[in-house]
Amino acid sequence: MENQNITGAEIIVKSLINEDVDVVFGYPGGAVLPVYDALFKQNQLRHILVRHEQAATHAAEGYARSTGRVGVVLVTSGPGATNAITGLTDALMDSIPLVCITGQVPTHLIGSDAFQEADTTGLTRSCTKYNYLIKDVNDIGPTLHDAFHIARSGRPGPVVVDIPKNLMNQLADYVGKTPFSRSSYRPASEGYLPAVERAVELMMAAKRPVFYVGGGVINSGVEACKKLTSLVRLTGFPCTNTLMGLGAFPASDPQFLGMLGMHGSLEANMAMAECDVMINIGARFDDRVTGRLDGFSPKSKKIHVDIDPSSINKNVRVHVPIVGDAGVVVQQMIDLWKAKKAKPDKKAHAEWWKKIEGWRAKKSFSYKMSKTTIKPQYALERLNALTKDKETFVTTDVGQHQMWAAQFLHFDKPGRWMTSGGLGTMGYGMPSAMGVQIGNPSGLTVCVTGEASFMMNIQELSTLVQYRLPVKILILNNRYMGMVRQWQEMFHGCRYSESYMDSLPDFVKLAEAYGMKGLRCDKVADVDAAIKEMLKIKGPVILDMVVDQNENVYPMIPAGAAHNELVLGPEQKTVMKSKDLL
């Protein structure tokens, strides 16, 4: 295609290609037919046809998180755009770079309740980082290039570009990739040096330090994670990751304390409660981590490195706030640590590690093994062991299986763990796995899910088969909405209201109906063999693993409790308070 006198739809396709996009996830409809026509006439940009627009957004999210690139979604007006809203909100909460192009009715029909019309910009204003409604065909190219810049820079997030159909048919010139036009948007990069110095001084003098690392480091890039790993190893401090930060620091490293938070490990939560210097890099003091705010680590000095100034001092007052890109600030810290020839207090640190090892020895993730029913924790431990030697990517849905996956699966690299953290969207897992597999064709993609979550986007099985995506779906089937049941057991006197999964399909027959393999495992002795077979089959597989119905996720910080008031499992039989363990 030439660049002069081409249609708006062709400009859209060219702009995407110029932004280094190689795949678009979408679903056609009246308002985007011109774009689909332009897509048909070329073969640089690949299109993945999903079966529901929500799945397109989750697939783009999985693709973005696992490759570090911007995920692109193409949906039609009206119901297409509204179906995408859940995925956009999910991307906003978890800071995933996404550009979503929505069709719109022709400009002269906007506001007239036309067929498949919705106020897309109004609806998506609060669930995106920014959104646009294009009114002139000459704006299409520059706006799309601006949208990509906004999506991927600063704190990443979703951007919606709403394009009316008549503009897609009008002719205009495409001028190529235009530079970013807004002077009002200037994301931070380097941290204010005096603040970083103060932080490093606090770190040098710390007797009981801990690193609290979140998804911001993963967003900053693979290099940023490597730098963070060097910093943690250089200082010798313990390090814990949030749910979104798993993989930023290698889980196999002895300095790793496990995930922290509501279902995090005892050692991670206690270290956070008892530390004297807390170094937060790229995390946002989420309520799942802090527990009751007035009980959150009251004695410690807190350093907070974040690229978004509105995340700092939002709910926890910090002593050294540093606005900047995690990778850049971590490098500043490494340089200062070396320049100041830091000599940390070895004796105090040895005592601190001794305390931490004491907490570790309590094995807060332990569960009671059974010979008759498969424990979900056991299934995940075996999955972890059997996928260790491969380039494995894991996506999950939401609930108990998600927490156990975070506890029992070990990630040594970033971009291998995709989960819906902030919004907690059930139905995220399988579409996300589709996006991951497409972005990493030679990787092993496993979707760990529950039967309730899995059924929310079950129609995407068709997409897996169409594009021959060898995603392995491990369903931890306990015939309940596990996490809901756990809360109902603990807080609502075992009144299991609407949490039982009735009338479940036979997942093996369902898989076969869609044209893929289905396996079932319900005996403990068969777990290894079933997982091995699932991994061996070339092509998409569902493994329906029938697990124990009554398992609860431990440890747990109940809402209203401080983060050191964990409830440990029946194995430990006590509610731990920090004074018991000092």
Binding site: G122, R125, S126, R155, R182, S184, I312, N313, W487
Partner: protein, 179 residues
């Protein structure tokens, strides 16, 4: 323990304070909706709001918002506004030093005889102008601080106040520094 089992409610003991914010934004489609959406979406209070274009060449508008909240809330509001793509600057006039606040109100007072005379006299004291007059009514135009206008309206109420229309606060910092 089970009052709100999913989230923890923290009652803030700090008294909310009134702050006047001046926000410089790109004059583009939907920018006001975006700013208001931020306040309403996060439950922040808008006591008054005015917006108008201030620079035609650079296509800039100024939004002046009066809001109230605790210190941490106001900090949050300012940072959330600042991170928005079309927002150029956010100034907290209440915190940054002395500033001038003015409002304009049009007040319609209906009456005859003694109350009509009294209304006219009060308007003179407040330096309000009568911009409409009929044998039985006046419309007064008054500018001044919000407190002055509150006082004027309170005095007009027993004298036959029928309608009032206020613009909301416009505010500018004192001294030579511009926004």
């Amino acid at each position: 323990m089970t009052t709100d089992i999913v989230y923890d409610i923290v009652e803030s003991k700090e008294q909310p304070k009134r702050h006047t914010l001046a926000v410089l934004v790109d004059n583009e489609f939907g920018v006001l909706a975006r700013v208001i959406g931020l306040f309403s979406g996060r439950g922040y209070n808008i006591e008054s709001l005015t917006v108008a274009e201030v620079d035609e060449d650079k296509n800039l508008s100024r939004i002046t918002i009066v809001t109230s909240g605790t210190e941490m809330t106001i900090e949050q509001i300012k940072r959330l506004l600042d991170r928005m793509v079309p927002v150029h600057k956010v100034h907290d006039l209440t915190v940054e030093g002395p500033h001038v606040e003015r409002e304009l109100a049009l007040v319609k007072v209906v009456g005859t005889g003694k109350s009509r005379v009294e209304a006219l006299r009060t308007a003179e004291i407040f330096r309000a102008k009568a911009v409409d007059s009929t044998p039985r009514s006046f419309v007064f135009e008054i500018t001044g601080s919000s407190e002055k206008i509150d006082a004027f309206i309170a005095l007009m109420r027993p004298l036959g106040l029928v309608e009032n229309c206020r613009t909301g606060v416009a505010a500018v910092s004192r001294g030579k520094e511009g926004i």
